[in-house]
Symmetry: C2
Subunit: 320 residues, 2 copies
DNA sequence: AAGCACTATGCACAAACGTGCAGAACGGAA
DNA sequence: TTCCGTTCTGCACGTTTGTGCATAGTGCTT
């Protein structure tokens, strides 16, 4: 029965993690086999009953972290990864650690804004469950493009977040960019859109990656049929370094006069900055320029990134 | 070197708990042996770098917990223990779980009041380290008696709390009971005592066991030379059920007119009730009457007790 | 520089753990 | 009731982890 299973899992978890008993001993107390206990414990971990978190005392943290922390005024989590790992493996490990770091921050009644992209997709695959009440996952920016509505890709991400936290999911069914700023203005007055915008306005957490114009593997945004040749030229002319949730900025963090933003469905950067907790996940050193712009723009309160990127972030800064 | 050891422990913990790597894989990344990683991880756990906590979703919790929770309005943690365990083993397991449950509640700048007794002694032996800043451990009541100053016994407990949380320890070097109420009045005007009282007044957490007059193994207080024959008679006449930090109360929670309290050095119950978080740890079903009085008096916000006691607590209540 | 006390390391073994698999138990549907 | 699909259980095996012990390293004293 699923009820006694849950309570068995709870008992087992208490005995295992809080009393240091072996699974064997627990099995005897619960009158079952050791393998069952092993399985009870993994279900306890999966279902978020057991919360494991790592708090590094800020003062004893390694050089790298404190340098970034001081320089950019963000709470930084450097993910240790071997330099020899390839992009995909690195992303996977950063994503897993990001997912588990985010877990403890999510609470009941949270309104969580989530962007989309390969980084968030990876993160969404590693979320650990944690049941909350009355939480909402809200999509930060539209995902449609010239070929598809982008629904499935972005909504898979959203759905995973929703089911991990037992939260309602609010999609944002618009293209990433409108063709004409006027259409955006019109749509922004629609009540269906306004509901989403209002949710975004009251977000308590926002989670996003960052795009970099010059990345080795250009983000979806720059290569996925979202922008045409002309748009890309305009971006280059405006000196854009990268984007967060399809809103662009320059290396120095400024974003005034970037006309493309007027057609973007992502959250206005000034608005984004008002979210209490803004978590930026970055994997891959080639996103460094985009990241630097995002940090200069003060978009993140928390930064989770791989070790190699972290090193590049501080080392290059040493030169300027 | 102890610095790189700490940061290795941090890296190892991240990789093990956040990325699910095996110790073997971690050893290769850190260029060390697997055994060292095993030891790094246990030191990470011991030093409080890794925090494991179990949050039971209140709604799915077992019957027992919700009944107690509802009836007494306390946050209850029932410790699963086999009924066949003896008193000492039960105490040990309750204490271990209590220690680990308390851990996450302790934070920087906390002022933590701690009582003494066999329960607290056991808890103090199982505390997991967690570094905090500017926290203080303050003794709730004097420990001296007719034979000894009680210093060593109580101060061992205090010291363990202090070193687990990296906190300053404030002893309370007075007897548990004065012979004359007048002495107490006089002492309470001493500045050395007032410093302690002021700390107590601003406690954010209080941790205590409970004594029960009719316990099978009477608490130290009733058997340890703290009270003479006459005192014990008076207690019986006043209908006292038990005590918290050597302050007595009746089964219904009342404590008016119990003259012994005027000579006790424990915190006034009304004052105790103003502490935000008041954690009561109970092991052994024979303390049930004392516990019931303490709950009736609203002394605890959190209750940690063994399963057998929990069962007795609700079952007997069914009769009244 | 040498000696000493203490701690950290790796090895090897034993203990503890995870998981594929086959059979048992369960829960509808006919 | 019987059937069938699904879930749960225990076993057996291979993997992963903890730990006593001998050795290597480290820092402090003389």
């Amino acid at each position: 029965m699923t009820l006694s299973r849950h309570s068995d899992a709870l008992r087992a978890a208490q005995m295992y993690y809080l009393q240091d008993l072996t699974m064997d001993a627990i099995a005897r107390e619960l009158r079952t086999s050791r393998s069952t206990v092993s399985r009870l414990l993994s279900s306890a971990r999966e279902s978020g009953l057991v919360q494991i978190q790592i708090r590094n005392p800020l003062d004893t943290g390694p050089e790298l972290e404190s340098m970034i922390r001081l320089q950019y005024k963000v709470d930084v989590h450097v993910v240790p990864v071997l330099d020899t790992l390839n992009e995909a493996e690195t992303l996977d490990r950063v994503a897993m650690q990001a997912a588990r770091t985010i877990g403890p921050l999510v609470d009941s009644n949270a309104i969580i804004g989530v962007a989309w992209g390969s980084t968030l997709s990876a993160v969404s695959r590693h979320l650990t469950r944690k049941i909350t009440h009355d939480s909402v996952i809200v999509q930060l920016n539209g995902a449609g493009n010239m070929q598809t509505t982008g629904i499935t890709y972005a909504s898979d991400i959203m759905r995973r977040f929703g089911s991990a936290y037992g939260a309602r999911v609010e999609q944002f069914p618009v293209p990433a960019f409108f063709d004409h700023a006027a259409t955006k203005t019109a749509m922004w007055n629609e009540r269906s859109v306004q509901r989403v915008l209002e949710l975004q306005a009251s977000m308590s957490i926002a989670i996003f990656g960052v795009g970099s114009v010059d990345a080795d593997y250009p983000s979806h945004v720059y290569a996925g049929g979202y922008l045409d040749e002309e748009d890309l030229d305009v971006l280059a002319d405006s000196g854009v370094a990268g984007d967060v949730a399809t809103v662009f900025f320059r290396a120095d963090g400024s974003s005034d006069g970037i006309t493309l933003n007027e057609r973007s469905t992502g959250p206005d950067l000034a608005r984004l900055r008002q979210v209490r907790r803004r978590i930026c996940v970055v994997s891959g050193a080639s996103k460094i320029n985009g990241l630097r712009g995002a940090l200069a723009a003060g978009l993140a309160t928390d930064l989770i990134l791989d070790e190699a990127s972290a090193r590049r972030l501080v080392s290059l800064d040493g030169l300027t």
